[in-house]
Symmetry: C2
Subunit: 411 residues, 2 copies
């Protein structure tokens, strides 16, 4: 792994992703295997003027053993200090840098209910933190660090060392880290989104029609005053942040109760080590009323049952076929990469910035305006090289948005 | 490093050290470099019936950068969640396994005031935790994990790999981990203390007189109903625990205001990367009234100034010259090992179990009975091969306790 590129990736996460400001508290969470990247992030954060860095390490091997061996009650409620940490740091105006990457198969033998109830318990205990993040008060970003087990899963045909090296190269190249200044590269990439985002927002679509030969035939209403965002997100103090490094998507939220028809996945979904394959959903007034999967159906059912909002959509994202990630023609077994491979939707919570002024609204008000609420947010891919998306405006105008899997000439 | 021995060391920490009981919460704290040992401790804890393990990793490299680069205010108060963690876990009847070991030189360039005020802030915010531990409600133990930088410091003449291997061998052998059952070995070792402990307690000494050719000439009064403990500590629910792995010491507390004369160190004291060498203290009614050091005097002064109790003694421990650690004739730059090399005292807090019924008393009551209170507890070595310690009982009987650095025939 190229140490100079690692430093650049760290700087990109700090100055681009979280856009760390002077005297800010910076929270970094990640696996102990990511220590080389995390240490560079810490240095970059101090360079950017952070007043303090708090690193919360976990260890996926220990997490795995905990899920298998701890008493059932442990997963029913959050540790008070975890909630205090989330709520208190958010109130201190912290930003959050999440370093992801790990063995995609590790949790295969774990009861998904345990993971889900543990994460729901923590979410519920961290209401203040969640609200502040939803209101765009705190910046956050996700960046990846390669691990041997993850690399071997993505590149099973390579030796472990080579696979690791290759995955690092992928992470760097897809994140646009190269010989140039990483922030210059990133800005160029981000600027390319701006034009499209503006056009999509100006179009004032009432609904979109998704169709392809895989079987998707879906009508998606958009909320009044929907906002498409691409690349960056402007948080409440006006600073541009990038929640995902890399990012290729332009996204908004569907009107949660205005989705009808059939939606067929075009890539497997990795959920805690279980690969859900060849799955589809049938929607009626936004709710999943039927679904199936050639593999992993039970895990998918668990997911849909997480809470009321888990069987409604919260995100609709546009990624042209032929994106750098899609071109690699690999499953990365990691949402950060796989979601940027092609067009996707997410089950669960909508981002509050997906409607105008959404960051000022409460969960209830957001829902009233059509934005789904849930403890989950799980992306799945629906893009294909023959996907067409047609937009319809209130006055009946029909506008091609995607033709043959890519933005139409009008975008 | 011998993986089987690592497992045995983990089992010794869990079943011996902390004596984990069924359905207990087990907290493990350590550096990310100790992950191989910590993972074995987690497995051993579940094997012993733990209901949950919480691992709190830190990263000494990041800690170092934090001390150098975080804003001053960060070290003035404890993060609320850290205190909640300590207090809440202690109230949940957790036991604590601390894995130590790291680069002894890393913190050399750090302002010791920052470290001291950070640790004082956390201690003060963790009053409930401290009280419960002082009352013997929660078991705790310290065990070591070798790291390359630490090994290289102890064995500078060896290559890094060899040094690491050698330090692991030392940790295993000194902790009595070998081909046999580690708990059997430990029990044999522990039993050997029992006879001496009983005799020392039955002797009902009023005071001890320490003398050697290094210049020590010190009178140490003992509190009424002092308790010498060796090896293990019985906690409030009656279970035997071993706070230190390894352990060679039999210790009690001096009467904090009853120490007079001169005390000369016989081994350097490593304090956050600064080596304090050839130092001595002059005591008057317990308080250090004069001191000097050939090296590190400033750091020693900081230490004595930590709080009111920092310039009084809180522990007096007996370790015969010729202990396994002393025989290695190495400085380990780690209190867990160096304090077991020879007789020592500690500046700062006394252990409440050093007087009969002490675990039931408040800090104020303990002080009234002669037990020193402080936020620090720092051991330093005074043993030598010509150290003599003579005990005096109330009725004027004179009993040789140590002759030529070792227990006299009467013990």
């Amino acid at each position: 792994m190229n140490q100079e590129y690692l430093k650049k990736l760290a700087r990109l996460a700090v100055e681009g992703g979280a856009n760390v400001k002077k005297d800010q508290l910076v929270v970094i969470k990640g696996d102990i295997q990511a220590a080389p990247l995390i240490r560079e992030i810490v240095s970059a954060a101090y360079d950017a003027g952070a007043k303090d860095c708090i690193v919360r390490y976990h260890d996926e091997q220990i997490k795995h053993e905990k899920y298998l061996r701890s008493a059932e009650e442990v997963f029913q409620k959050a540790e008070p200090w975890e909630a205090v940490f989330n709520n208190d740091s958010a109130k201190q105006d912290a930003c959050y840098i999440h370093v992801v990457g790990g063995d995609p198969d590790l949790m295969k033998d774990v009861d998904p209910k345990r993971m889900q109830s543990a994460s729901a318990a923590l979410e519920n205990a961290s209401q203040e933190y969640r609200n502040l993040l939803n209101q765009g008060k705190n910046a956050w970003t996700i960046v990846a660090s390669a691990t041997p087990a993850w690399a071997k899963k993505v590149y099973p045909e390579l030796e472990e060392d080579q696979a690791l090296e290759q995955l690092w190269e992928d992470i760097f190249s897809i994140s646009r880290v190269d010989e140039n200044d990483p922030l210059d590269n990133w800005k160029k990439h981000s600027d390319s989104f701006m034009n499209r985002v503006k056009k999509l927002n100006d179009a004032k679509f009432e609904k979109l029609h998704y169709q392809n030969s895989a079987g998707t035939d879906l009508w998606v209403e958009l909320p009044e005053n929907y906002v498409y965002e691409g690349g960056g997100t402007v948080i409440s103090d006006g600073r541009m942040t990038y929640p995902n490094i890399p990012t290729e998507e332009i996204f908004t939220a569907p009107k949660y109760n205005g989705v009808n028809g059939k939606l067929v996945s075009t890539m497997p979904l990795n959920r805690s080590g279980v690969l859900i394959k060849d799955f589809w959903f049938e929607f009626k007034d936004g709710k999943v009323v039927d679904f199936d999967a050639a593999q992993g159906k039970e895990t998918l059912a668990e997911l849909l049952a997480a809470d009321e909002g888990a069987s409604y959509l919260g995100e609709a994202a546009l990624v042209p076929w032929g994106s750098p990630i899609q071109k690699k023609n690999r499953i990365f077994y990691n949402t950060l990469f796989d979601e940027n491979a092609s067009c996707h939707f997410a089950l669960g919570r909508a981002y509050s910035e997906s409607i105008e002024g959404g960051q000022e609204l409460s969960d209830e008000e957001l829902k009233e305006k059509g934005l789904n609420q849930s403890i989950i947010h799980v992306d799945f891919m629906v893009g294909s090289d023959d996907l067409s998306i047609t937009g319809y405006t209130k006055d009946g105008k029909e506008v091609p948005v995607f033709v043959n899997g890519r933005f139409s000439d009008q975008f």
